[in-house]
């Protein structure tokens, strides 16, 4: 035993030998590997209605690998419809699913993801507003700093404002310094706000 001498080529699994099949139908197959391949295929060649079908499957899917393939497929499709079907998953109890849905939105082009996320800045649920800030803060878009500035200047919840500070500091946006000062004035008694604003200010300062 020990090191095995090489063979001609890797063995091909039975799944690889399968013929071409309607990917929308395959998405509901009993085999996880088939569903995973179907999701991957839909991500690269989406027929009409692929976004809705993927979202339906995602709601019921129990296999982590298939879920990931669906979420990645939606990120790759990156149509307004793909962004729209992901938004409801930001409200799910399942933190892994919620975070993965946000990650998919973040990986879409900004002009697709932003219209789906911006309305959430006015949502009554604080958590959804934080997710929206995290999503918008990671996008490469000329209005990104303005979106985050608006949050720091207007949002009534300090945690939403701090999420905006974090997004600004991570992406490096020294042009938003005045909004940071505004946030500090709005929450003068919050020690963590003062700390976060100071940290962001010093990371931009003198460069």
């Amino acid at each position: 035993m020990g090191l095995v001498k090489k063979k001609a080529a890797p063995e091909v699994s039975p799944a690889a030998a399968g013929g071409v099949r309607d990917p929308l139908a395959a998405l509901e197959d009993a085999g996880a590997a088939v569903r995973r391949d179907a999701a991957h295929g839909l991500g690269h060649s989406p027929p009409p209605g692929a976004e809705a079908a993927l979202a339906r499957r995602l709601q019921a899917e129990g296999d982590a690998g298939v879920r990931e393939a669906i979420l990645t497929a939606l990120a790759r499709i990156a149509t307004p419809a793909a962004a729209a079907v992901l938004v409801p998953f930001l409200d799910r109890e399942d933190a892994a699913l919620r975070n993965a849905a946000l990650e998919s939105l973040q990986q879409m082009p900004a002009e697709v993801a932003a219209p789906a996320l911006l309305p959430l800045l006015d949502h009554a649920d604080t958590d959804l507003r934080i997710f929206a800030v995290q999503g918008l803060g990671s996008l490469v878009h000329p209005d990104r700093a303005d979106w985050l500035a608006r949050v720091m200047e207007r949002d009534r919840d300090v945690n939403v404002g701090l999420a905006a500070v974090e997004a600004l500091a991570e992406a490096g946006s020294p042009e938003a310094l005045s909004s940071l000062e505004t946030l500090a004035r709005r929450f003068p008694d919050d020690a963590f706000v003062a700390f976060a604003v100071d940290a962001a200010r010093s990371s931009f300062g003198g460069r």
Binding site: G2, L3, V4, K6, A9, P10, G65, V140, E170
Partner: protein, 295 residues
Amino acid sequence: MNGVSETDPQGLSPEDYATLCGFLRDRTGLSFTEAKRYFVDRRVAARMQAVGATDLRAYMNLLRFQASGEELQRLVNLMTVNETYFFREKYQFDCLVNSALDELVRGRPKGSRLRIWSAGCATGEEPYSIAIMLLENWSRVDDYEIELLASDIDSAVLERAREGIYDERALQGLPAHLRAKYFQPLRGAADDWGPRWQIVEDLRDSVDFSLVNLADPQQVRGFRGIDVIFCRNLLIYFDDLGRRETASMFHDALAPGGFVCLGHSESMSRMSSLFVPRRFPDAILYQKPVDGGAA
């Protein structure tokens, strides 16, 4: 400042090139002369495209101000990626033979198979290093059938990997007794390239090299039931979605409980939530949950 793109034959302007090189020199010590212009242009263009930076000013802002420093690390990795050699980042091979393999074979009968895949093997230093580490440092190597797979997207480097011929620089990290044991000097090879050595035939026959594009699911379907995947300093070439898809593909390829080993500056947590980080004494590996990760 100007933008750069794959289609822009001019790349960075002279001023922008000087600015970028000065910044890199200050931050990293890496020095790039005008002779390295094309090398730098291509890599900067690839990273700007990956992060969606529309011009060099935006990209420089990211490099300068990003709190995590992640993008600077990625760019640096791209600039140094050709520096491969035997036993590079050896602590990960130590982790393999000191911890991971013993855990993987726990409960497996003697004689069963272990599959190790070097994904993005380039000219072969990594899979051959794994082979040597197993033979030299894993006491149970003869108890199992160990299959070493290695793949790359570049057919030219695969051909060199199969030949297994290396110069002094590639062997710099190898102790002399291992060089004597596993390499043969090539007679009359002291030409413009300097002296060279070839991996012994027995070892060359133990690594199964194949041409594989990791981004194509059809090409990776043959890789199933893998116990350990080494994929180091390769995914820095991919964009976020590409990394996420590749991580998902590794998840499919691995046996339950199998491990992924990434480069020292790479983190699976930034790519995928399918894996669990495992801290061993020598290194951190990323493990596919034993239950496969069912939700």
